[in-house]
């Protein structure tokens, strides 16, 4: 029987965010928005879900007068993402 895919990662936008963060030290909100093509509201909601699960850490700072939200994958997130990819491979095979 096939193992269930992690529901926190298995959503289009959340998977996009996790995939982008997997090879980056960190990425800011505007970069994630640009790459995923998501709306600010939707992206913000999905980032919060990933952060609540402990898969990413979110840091809010200021660049000059502009607020800057930076996301970084946590070790728990990296492990969950690796497990997700492994499970996905069993689905393909």
């Amino acid at each position: 029987m096939l193992k269930e895919l992690n529901p926190i990662i298995h959503s289009e936008l959340r998977l996009q965010i996790m995939s982008l963060l997997t090879s980056l030290v960190d990425a800011d909100f505007s970069y994630l928005r640009q790459q995923t093509g998501a709306t600010a509201g939707n992206l913000s909601v999905q980032i919060d879900k990933l952060a609540s699960a402990g898969y990413i850490s979110v840091t809010k700072t200021f660049k000059g007068k502009m607020p800057c939200t930076t996301c970084k994958m946590t070790p728990e997130g990296a492990a969950a993402f690796a497990e997700y990819v492994e499970t996905l491979k069993t689905y393909i095979q």
Partner: protein, 201 residues
């Protein structure tokens, strides 16, 4: 969302982040390569015109101009601040190589006149240009190997091996050779690599 679509999405996003990192990744090679060539030619010209050894102090323009340009250009492109784990490792390699180079150059500057090192029973003078070319060659080769760039790996090893020439070259010729070494080791390969990245888009 089915499994195939998930995999496609993962590979698309990873590819996108890698593409973004390629943009501007050759910038440090251009900054430090062109600065070194420019300052070398300036020192060569000043020494040729005046014959005054004090003109050698102009070598310190390399770190001054290089760091100033790095700060200005980093600020200009601060919007594209993205760092991969490979990029972080490359930055650390260059930090260590530059620190090693500065410490060795400083120690040679501060050493008493006529200082030499004994190796295999003979007295050996270590020229500064050899140390700089050697350390920068190491840095270029390591960067090339880490980012999977054949052209930078090969040019780095050429620089590394070619640095031995500075043990034999002396006077004004060595300065011109030094400028040439940086063109071969850093500037030309960086232009080739940047062109490869542009064509792969």
């Amino acid at each position: 969302m089915d499994s195939r679509k998930s995999l496609e999405l993962i590979s698309e996003m990873i590819h996108k982040s890698q593409e973004n990192l390629k943009h501007g990744s050759m910038r440090p090679f251009f900054i430090w390569g062109y600065t070194t060539i420019g300052v070398s030619l300036l020192v060569w010209l000043l020494l040729k015109l005046t014959g005054n050894p004090a003109m050698q102090w102009f070598w310190w323009l390399i770190p001054v101009i290089g760091m100033a340009l790095t700060l200005v250009i980093d600020k200009k492109y601060s919007k594209e601040h993205l760092k991969s784990y490979v990029g972080k490792c490359v930055s650390i390699v260059w930090l260590v190589m530059c620190a090693a180079c500065v410490v060795m150059v400083l120690s040679l500057n501060l050493a008493p006149s006529g200082t030499s090192h004994f190796f295999a029973g003979k007295s050996v003078f270590v020229p500064i240009l050899f140390i700089v070319c050697f350390t920068m060659g190491c840095g270029t080769a390591m960067t090339g190997l880490m980012i999977n760039s054949k052209v930078l790996s090969i040019s780095g090893f050429i620089g590394l091996a070619g640095s031995i020439a500075f043990m034999y070259l002396h006077g004004l010729t060595s300065i011109l050779a030094f400028a040439g070494a940086f063109a071969i080791m850093m500037v030309i390969p960086a232009h080739i690599q940047a062109a490869i990245y542009r064509h792969s888009k």
